[in-house]
Amino acid sequence: METPEDCGDACLIDTKKLLEKKDSVIAGTGSDLLILLTEGTYGLFDGPFNAIQVGNAVLATEKNATVVLLDEGVYFGVKNQDPSEIELPNNTNYIKDFIELGGRILALESSLKRRGLLNDDLIEGINLIDHSQLVQEIEKHKISLTF
């Protein structure tokens, strides 16, 4: 398992350090990354965890990154997560860091709705989009990763 305590090498993004130098992070330069996150449950924790690590690393290098939660990925953005008793790192912390570092998180409204979720169920700072806006995001970003 890959909890932050397990590693301590450069592969895991130390967002605390990044936040300290946040003022020097310039948005809008370089190649932009779109991450399409289609998994978001703790049952399949490794994909989403690794996805947000890439997102935070890209922001750390002063580039832009956008995460779109779609399909099962919308579960990733739900409020009040506490996986401490199943001994997994809390997604919420990484999402908050991502947003604070200037990353954008969007969620596909139709994916949310069909799962009985509402905008209010999501962590603050996540905006909803429809499919036509998803196309715009694909157009806007140079490259995309799907997790």
Binding site: M1, E2, D6, C7, D9, A10, C11, L12, I13, G30, S31, L33, T38, E39, D46, G47, N50, Q53, V54, A57, V58, A60, T61, K63, I143, S144, L145, T146, F147
Partner: protein, 117 residues
């Protein structure tokens, strides 16, 4: 200028076709003269663990060919450490590195593909 593609593999060998898809794509792209990077992430780090010869085609063999053909392959050190995948157990010539090596690749890539979905 030669174009560059970065491939991310997030699945292990045998559990699905993704390792084969990624390595086959890498081999073909290299054959056609592109710069090819292959980032082994998550369970993707198990792929170079398929090290020994087998009497059937296997992804380890294809990965060795990719390395020989000049595909750049790197392993996420955090993912490897978590799974106790160590240097001596895997195909030679694949560095275990931090995530910023991958974001460097992203910066210098014309296209990127993920193999897990």
């Amino acid at each position: 200028m030669t174009k560059t593609i970065t491939l991310l593999l997030h699945r292990g060998p045998y559990e699905s076709e993704y390792a084969d898809l990624a390595v086959n794509f890498a081999l073909k792209a290299r054959e056609k003269g592109y710069n090819v990077n292959l980032w082994l992430y998550g369970d993707g780090v198990w792929t170079p663990h398929v090290k020994n010869e087998k009497d059937y085609p296997n992804v380890g063999e294809h990965l060795r060919k990719a390395l020989k053909d000049g595909v750049n392959v790197k392993i996420c050190s955090r993912c490897a450490e978590a799974r106790d995948v160590v240097k001596d157990d895997i195909i030679e010539g694949i560095p275990m590195v931090g995530l910023f090596d991958f974001t460097d690749w992203l910066d210098n890539s014309d296209k990127v593909l993920t193999f897990m979905r």
